[in-house]
Symmetry: C2
Subunit: 242 residues, 2 copies
Amino acid sequence: MKIDVYALPSNVQEKELKERVAVVIDVLRASSTIITALHNGCREVIPLIDIEEAINLSKNYERGAFLLGGERNAQKIEGFDLSNSPYEYTRDVVEGRTVLMTTTNGTRAIRKASEAKEVIIGGFLNVGAVAQYIGQRDEDVAFICAGTEGKFSLDDILAVGAMIDALQNMGKPLEMDDLGLVCLQMYSTHKQNLRKVLERTYHYRNLVRAGFESDVDYCIQLNLLPTIPVYREGVIRVLETA
Amino acid sequence: MKIDVYALPSNVQEKELKERVAVVIDVLRASSTIITALHNGCREVIPLIDIEEAINLSKNYERGAFLLGGERNAQKIEGFDLSNSPYEYTRDVVEGRTVLMTTTNGTRAIRKASEAKEVIIGGFLNVGAVAQYIGQRDEDVAFICAGTEGKFSLDDILAVGAMIDALQNMGKPLEMDDLGLVCLQMYSTHKQNLRKVLERTYHYRNLVRAGFESDVDYCIQLNLLPTIPVYREGVIRVLETA
């Protein structure tokens, strides 16, 4: 199994995705929020680039059938129902509803992945489920990290490392690119205390400074949820595995 | 001192360079070849993007005053005097001459850095000299890695790690971005045997397969040369330090 890792959506060469399963990762917080929302019965999440696009699309839905969610500069968008905090996407709020979602990094990364033969969403929360699914498919994989404000973001890299580590523990022979080696090494070195190394990173510190420490603590939990979001034709739903 | 690292020239946001010293790194092999050529008395290296650009420019020089150097697909370019192997840039060949050079990754990275207030060229060969120079200037630094064929390349990342390690050993208080942390960690873990980890990487294996193993062994030597190439107004010369 070939594994390639892209630290940023802009580094992806789309033609390389055609024969691959893509795993999109934006640990803090879009991936984690989408996994949580779908786990809590949300019907679907529609990732959108622009605020305007989200608002326009919402006009197609009946009142009560949809929620507007997302962030700009880590804060809730004016007029939106939900921010990008996974804690807001509880069962009583999201069950049976469509979430129209726009975030700074994550939704862009998902759209960028759309040339792949399958696009799933991963984070620390569903590492085990994602690794098991990829391992069973046994096809080449592209991990696409969202990054933070156009820069390499260690939280995403460590989550990719956790998935590669899980694949390796399943006995899969892996052929990794250079960044794959780095992900695995960084995760192996820090897995006993992810929080300690994350405390030195830009995105983590930014979110803590903005008052989102409990979100961050939530997002870096390993294997909390078995849910795998899958993105098909513009919509993210729960992947139904056999 | 703030340290930012870019794994690829395309990741650089040029406005971020304005107040910084940029260190361009293409360990295999452009950086190492340029350092070696200048150390051996080469008058100047002019980095060019296209083969045609290099050939056209060469018409401005008298016969014997210039050499055409570089590679495509790691091989010497037809009609050129020199390939991208540092072993060809000996004193008897390059002394007093201008080298017009075009390589796949390195020369592009150098040009991309040109918005910085100073642009120097680094590799394993001159780690100590570069770290000392940066440390003395005590300004914010941007490390710009060339990457390999548009992808993250661990050889460059380890060389950045070696420079950050040297700065840290000089007692400099460093404020690193996420990729800076990764560079330092990867270098610290592998510094006793760089070759062993590099043997697993794409660019290293590609060059060995193409018959350039001795080049690679040369390029990963730490602190072999005290020479710092500096790029100013389109031309790379030896930096004259006080």
